[in-house]
Symmetry: C2
Subunit: 143 residues, 2 copies
DNA sequence: CTGATTTTGATAATCATTATCAATTAAATT
DNA sequence: AATTTAATTGATAATGATTATCAAAATCAG
C-alpha cells in the first residue's frame, strides 16, 4: 500500500530504487508518524544493512523530500527532520512536548478558515505548518 | 515606549545595557516585524558602531531571547532568526512568501479553539507557532 | 559485452553556532 | 579615588550538521 505509492513516485521521477534507498525507505516506514533526523536514520539503517554511508542518507532523504515522498521540516534544535508523507493533503501540524520531546500530529479543519481569510486578503497559500509547544498528556499528568 | 519595556526586562534580569547590546537592540527595533539572522544583525550593527564581534551578537541575541525581549525561531534554511517580541501574547504566526521571502504575521483568535481542543485531550499547551507558505499579495498579483 | 550514466562512500569543505580564554570594562568595596 | 570582584567582550578554536568532491562500483541502454 505504502510501497505502491512510493514506487510510483520514484518511477515518475526516474529515480532508482537501490538497496540503500530501500533500506532508508523501510526505516521511514517503520517509523511512520515519527520525525527522524539524518543521523537517526543513518543509525537505524546501519542496523539493517551495515553498508550505507552517511552521505547517502543525506542525499536520499533530500531527494525523497524533493519528490514529496518525505516531508522535511526543522524544529528548535536546529536540525532537519523527515517524516513519511502520506496522501495528498499537507498535515504538518505538530505538538511538541517540551518535556519528553515527543512529537505528534494535530487535525486540520480549523486551520482551513484561516487560510480562506488570508486568501481574501490577496495571499496565495500553498502550504502551512503549525507547531504547538507544551506537555503531552503523559508528561502533563506526571507534574 | 519600546525601550521602556526593554529596560525593565533587562533590569529584572540584572542584565547590563552595554554599548554593544544597545546597538544590537537598536537594530532589532529598527527592523521591527522582520526576522533577522545573527549575521544580518551583525552586519547592520557593524554599520552603526564598528566594534562588535560576531560572538557578542550571538550571545546577546540568545540572552535577549531567554528573557523574552526577542522571539527566536527557525525557518527552512536552517538558521535561527530573531524578532522583537512586543507585549505579552505569543504572536508567532508567520506567512512566508515563497517568492520574495517576505515574512509577515497572522492574527490569533481562531487558533485558540484548537488549543482548547488539545487541552481537553490532556495536553498542556504553552506556546505555538504557525507558518503559512505561499505568495504575498504583491508577488501573487505579479503572476 | 561495452560504453555511458547513476549512485555510492569516504572524506574534505562549508556554514552556523558554541566554547574558550585572556583582556577590557564596569560595579562594588574599601 | 584606588582596589578588588564580577560581568562582558572579541578573537579564535571547536563543534555539529550539512553539502561538495571525486574516484570506484553498480546499473542501464544499445
Amino acid at each position: 500500500m505504502v510501497w505502491k505509492r512510493i514506487s510510483q513516485k520514484l518511477e515518475e521521477n526516474e529515480y532508482r530504487l537501490t538497496p540503500q534507498r530501500e533500506v532508508i525507505l523501510q526505516v521511514m516506514i517503520d517509523n511512520r508518524g515519527k520525525h527522524l533526523s539524518a543521523d537517526e536514520v543513518y543509525i537505524e539503517a546501519r542496523g539493517k544493512s551495515s553498508n550505507i554511508g552517511i552521505a547517502t542518507v543525506y542525499r536520499t532523504l533530500e531527494k525523497l523530500a524533493s519528490i514529496e515522498v518525505l516531508y522535511k521540516t526543522i524544529f528548535e534544535g536546529g536540525k532537519y527532520r523527515y517524516e513519511l508523507s502520506l496522501g495528498e493533503t499537507h498535515q504538518h501540524h505538530h505538538i511538541i512536548c517540551l518535556q519528553c520531546g515527543n512529537i505528534s500530529e494535530v487535525e486540520e479543519d480549523l486551520l482551513h478558515n484561516l487560510e480562506i481569510h488570508l486568501e481574501k486578503k490577496g495571499y496565495k497559500i500553498l502550504d502551512h505548518e503549525l507547531k504547538f509547544y507544551g506537555y503531552c498528556p503523559q508528561c502533563n499528568s506526571k507534574k
